[in-house]
């Protein structure tokens, strides 16, 4: 099966399911769920099958390049292509999306209102999310980014809680604001890009997708440019090409406004756009409201997948395309990350609504992602520490996956309780260990995964990010590690108030029935993955590490290369003892006047 057919069918299979539901006359809610379950189950199976070795389409581990990449003409006059592909950054997120969506649909049994529209929207949402992670064309990426927005708006606004309209419109406005900034940035980048730069010759010749799409045009342009002929610039929306342009040429270095370069502005706009989605303090307040009002399955998808789109945008677009700006912004971004970690944890500590608490814990955990991406530490002499940066980025990626698992599980736990007793007040629980023992045991596992207990998935991302931050700034690392204490505080306090104690002291105690088999299996699957990633994190690193490390290396190389002349001088100055005699005299002469 060709890559085009394979990836496209995975991407649009949920739409097919949506069509089936749409045209199935008088379909019952249960049937809708079954169809969606089968549909998303097949998608999940297909993505998981990439993990199996030996299949013709299996995803090769320890491989940094794009796999299954293909491009078809879409709007060729603007160099816009239908360009999809998988690499170490997108693949784990695609698998996570498919898995969490499947579990979310499995958890949708309680949705009875307008079931047809609900399942159609959720299936469209899955296509949107997969599209965001799969597309390697910036324009296509933006389209899918917007596609995600609308179903989510309706899912919160129609099936949500009492303040659903407010929450939905807040979510929508926040995100659309970010999207507009993103749109500006990507148009800026598009019109500044030029593939006919001779420095890109090697890339243009080696990249098969470029070859297939605009290769001949680009090569002609390069030749003409080398011959000093006037050439029409060849713009591109290809994300990988834009990365190369950012890393190899100075096309984005032009000053744009108030003395800052184009990439500085592009970074800023993109960063705000992605930070809203992530969400980063202080643009995070849509999240608690959206979570509190959203129905359980939607919360699972929101926390499990949607937030990761922000982190993915940063690591895929923002950082690789604008390296110098990334370095310029290293400290502000890192500080924002630490603030988010602490602020989210503190705010969680003060919540009385169970779901709001979990929402704030998401804010805190996504702060690690930002911090991990930002740690561009510079040695004396201008060399950028690619090792530490690679570690930070890997930590950030791992944190996203781990959080996808643990937060989906936590929201599911809250949802299960809400379904039974119709309230979420933390001070009106207690004693659940007696009434729902299996559920309580599983919840402890999930909550401990979120707390960053070693042996479960939450620990690895945190420790990697903090270790890499140490090289960047010891103070930030120490301040950031306070989050560990606060996290333990609010998680343990929550567990105590909800699960421990001898009796449940809230309304509707008779409704607290033990967990059903379906509920146990959803939590069990999540916990199993949390344990697997915790005791053998290499099982995830083997797929993503090569790509992420390559990204960090490329950035570090670009930023180090900038400083090289200085550094050579520094070396000359530092090593008079080892230097040959004539150099010594030369140096002495230079110093003495």
């Amino acid at each position: 099966m060709s890559s085009a057919a394979l990836l496209s069918s995975i991407l649009f299979f949920p739409c097919l399911g949506a069509l089936v539901i749409l045209f199935w006359a008088r379909i019952s809610p249960a049937m809708c769920q079954k169809v969606s379950l089968v549909c998303s189950g097949l998608v999940a199976l297909a993505t998981f099958s990439f993990l199996l070795p030996g299949l013709p389409w299996s995803f090769a581990p320890y491989e940094a390049t794009v796999q299954h990449g293909f491009a078809l003409d879409w709007i060729p006059s603007f160099q816009i292509y239908y360009y999809l592909g998988l690499d170490g950054i997108s693949f784990p997120l695609v698998v996570l999306t498919a898995g969490v969506s499947f579990l979310a649909i499995a958890a949708s049994g309680t949705i009875k209102k307008h079931a047809v529209s609900y399942y159609i929207l959720i299936l469209l949402l899955i296509t949107g999310m997969l599209g965001v992670f799969l597309s390697l064309d910036l324009f296509l990426f933006y389209i899918f980014w917007e596609v995600v927005l609308l179903p989510m708006y309706f899912l919160i606004g129609i099936w949500g809680g009492p303040r659903k309209e407010y929450a939905a419109i807040k979510f929508f406005l926040y995100t659309i604001f970010g999207s507009i900034l993103m749109l500006i940035a990507l148009l800026m980048l598009y019109f500044a890009s030029d593939l006919t730069d001779p420095r890109l010759e090697e890339f243009v010749k080696s990249d098969t997708i470029i070859q297939q799409t605009v290769g001949s045009q680009a090569l002609e342009g390069i030749e003409a440019r080398q011959a000093d002929d006037a050439v029409q610039p060849l713009h591109t929306f290809n994300i990988l090409a834009l990365q190369k342009i950012g890393q190899l040429t100075d096309q984005f270095d032009e000053p744009l406004l108030w003395g800052y370069s184009l990439q500085w502005w592009a970074f800023l706009l993109l960063f705000i756009g992605f930070a809203i989605k992530l969400p980063l303090v202080p643009v995070h307040t849509w999240l608690p409201d959206a979570h509190v009002e959203a129905p359980t399955p939607i919360s699972m998808i929101l926390a499990g997948v949607l937030l990761k789109m922000g982190g993915y945008g940063l690591i895929r677009i923002c950082y690789p395309i604008c390296p110098e700006a990334a370095q310029w912004f290293a400290y502000p971004v890192a500080i924002l990350g630490v603030i988010a970690m602490l602020y989210g944890a503190f705010a969680a500590l003060a919540q009385w609504d169970f779901k709001r608490l979990v929402a704030y814990s998401s804010v805190s955990h996504m702060g690690y992602v930002v911090l991990g991406l930002a740690v561009c530490s510079v040695y004396a002499g201008g060399q950028v520490d690619s090792q530490a940066w690679a570690m930070g980025m890997n930590g950030a990626m791992f944190q996203m996956i781990a959080h996808g698992i643990s937060s989906a599980g936590m929201f599911f736990c809250v949802g299960m309780l809400y379904d039974r007793v119709k309230h979420r007040q933390l001070d009106q629980f207690g004693g659940l260990f007696h009434r729902m023992p299996t559920f309580s045991g599983l919840s402890f596992g999930i909550f401990f995964a979120s707390m960053g207990l070693p042996g479960l998935c939450g620990f690895i991302g945190e420790i990697f990010v903090l270790l890499s931050t140490w090289k960047f700034s010891a103070v930030l690392a120490i301040v950031g590690s306070l989050t560990l204490l606060l996290t333990a505080g609010y998680i343990l306090w929550t567990l105590q108030r909800v699960y421990l104690g001898f009796e449940y002291h809230g309304p509707l105690p008779e409704k607290l029935s033990p967990a059903t088999k379906g509920e146990i299996s959803i939590l069990g699957v999540l916990l199993a993955f949390a344990i697997l990633l915790g005791i053998y994190p290499q099982s995830l690193f083997r797929y993503m590490e090569a790509t992420v490390t390559q990204t960090a290396d490329a950035l570090a190389e670009r930023l180090s290369a900038k400083e090289e002349p200085d550094e050579q001088q520094a070396q000359l100055r530092i090593d008079p003892l080892e230097a040959p005699a004539d150099t010594k005299t030369l140096l002495v002469e230079r110093v003495q006047p």
Binding site: I169, K170, L173, Y174, T285, P288, Y343, F346, A347, A348, L349, A350, Q351, S386, Q387, A390, M391, N394, G431, H434, T438, G441, L453, P454, G455, F459, I463, F464, L466, L467, W470, A474, A477, S481, L482, L484, L485, A488, G489, L492, W493, Q496, L500, G501, F502, E503, Y536, P537, Q538, F541, E545, T549, D553, I574, P576, L577, K584, L587, V588, V591
Partner: protein
Amino acid sequence: MNLDRMLPLLLGGAWLLPLLAFAIIALGGHYLKKTSSQHRAGFLSTVAILGSFVLAVVAFSMWVSDQGLGEPHHGPEFERAQLEENQTPIQLAALAEEGEAEHAHDGVFSVSGVWYIWAQVGEQKFEIGYYIDALTICLFVMITLVASCIHFFSLGYLQEELETGIKDHLVATSAGEPFERVGRQHRFFQYLSLFCFSMLGLVLAGNLLMVFIFWELVGICSYFLIGFYFERKAAQDAANKAFLVNRIGDLGFLVGIMALWGVLGTLTFGEMSTKLAELAPETQQQASPNKTTIQAASFLQDEEAKATNDEETADWNVGLLILAGLGIFCGCVGKSAQFPLHVWLPDAMEGPTPVSALVHSATMVAAGVYLVARCYPLFTEEVLLVIAYIGVITLLMAAMMALVAVDIKRVLAFSTISQLGYMMLALGVGGWSAGVFHLITHAFFKSLLFLGAGAVIHALHHEQLLIRMGGLRHKMPWTAGMMFVGCLAIAGAGIPGLDWGLSGYFSKDALLAQAYAFAQVNPSHVYLYWLPLAGKALTAFYIFRLWYLTFAGKPREKKLYENAHEAPLVMLIPMMVLTYFAITAGWQIPFTPSSVTTILEQALPAVASFETPWAAALNYPAEYLSHQYHTKIAWTAIATAGTGFLLATIFYVWQGLRPDEVQKQFGPLFRFLQAQLYLNEVYHFLFVRPLHGIARACSWIDRHLIDPFVDRMAKGTVNLARLEDQGDRKLIDRPIDWMSASFYDLAVQLKATQTGMIRQYLVFLVLGTVGFFFIVGYLWQL
């Protein structure tokens, strides 16, 4: 025999067996709802830990047959002869350094390797591996032995957890009745097995990150076990407190790990010493005079720049190393309940007594001491001094609190803190093997004491207050006897002339001798010897106070006394085993000159050899040098302990002095000690409340600053849209409407000309044509 191959296999197996038991119970727990079948879980756990013990013993014997039992370290004869005479401290110090150079470690034999790569990023690898030396093996045997005993004991102690209707008298339902619940013995053994796995993993770990992983895991096991009676508010709070206070220490540990990673680039124990060696000459060079001569040569400025640059890096590195040492020690302060993070351990006594015996006296709390011992080469002299002083403060403070505690388990908890302080002190003054040796002997006698206390509590149906006991020696002669042995061991009883005593005699003697030797060469730190010595009297006093109040005299509560009974065999036999080791753990192994100490000394690490810029002028006497003081110290120690014993006897047996009168005399001090120096309240006021305050502030900012801002923005936009809408209606629509209306009116008026009469139309036509020509003609003329 191939140690490299067999040891990881054996110890790895011993490590994983409890995990297997845990997994089976955790997954099968669903099927153990019936209390009648829960005892299977207990058996499974016990069999697993017994299997671990057997494997550990096999590994130990393989080690011994390959590596021998170790020889007692003694300096060359002539040196000793010189040392016999009185010498000035300076000379002694010089000798110490010489001796150090001679003894400088002929390499510690260890087996280390990797099981699997945990995570790899770029070239940085993090591995799940092992590091096995004499220390690892000894601790494996000790842990599995004590754990096996305690598993057996628990089978008896938690017998009642097999019933369906357990009344928890400490929890009152809203109706005022005691809360009734179903037993859950299998959960207890599930946590216990997980704990054994984590604890063994901690000892086996091949790198610091792995230590950190298991460090946190033992913490969470401790959380579960303290909170075993989770219906009780006190137990929940104690469990939370234990975990959170430990997390504070762990933050320091994490900072230490980060600093160490920054300075060494590795966390693997096997690689650390080589990396340190690479670092050491660099730093030492700074102090060497050669450097200055070179500097005196040509191109001064550049040279100086380089030198200062190097010096800065070196200083920076040493600074980082000190930070790393302090950080790691901070973790140990949390785990080993040292001042000021000791507050969780007394509360941790809310857990079932076997847990206190295993987790909170013998193994987990000793993990901090183990880690200090394991990371010994990393600690610079400043850090060691900090360790020593923290140890002294802790041991005195806890011993004094033990004097006034009224709960039998709390006395033992304070005693544990105090003994851990002794171990830290020993490590801090250079007594590596003395500290580790005391760790092992303490594990035996303290778990014996806890099990004895457990037997008493079991017999009295969960009565823990000392003032309600008394006279129990008649009812429980075996327990009383064995506990008396435990008391003698912790007090360090022995006969110095014959060099015979219980285990505590040897280990305390060794560590006091080392403290004495240290105080001899560092006169400014003489308190590091005198205070622990005073602590010994306190130890003897509080421990015999406990014994007298429990077993001696007349019963103070008749009813409790009547119902008391001797513990069943399943509880007595483990205590007998522990009694045996509490007596003999310090003895020489028959027909050899060796003992546990010499086996441990096979793992003796080199003392840190850093010339640190901030180093106080400290001298660390090599441990073998302190052997000469043993006899002298032994007499002093016995005398102090005897004083303590005598005082306790006067107070509680002969009634020569009345305790309540003394209490009245020292009222404020007594209350201060009983309130644990008000540290809990101080911490609550200084840390807990401010943190909650900040938390509320953050939440407030969200609700009252950010959200209104966003809402106003949205509202503003809507208002703007409304304004625009009004503009549309009034400025644009209105003129257009007016225009269309006037056109309409015009059209209506013009309608009147439409009459339908041909003649009239003709007139209009003619007039129009004539008019047209007139106009055209007129225009033409222009």
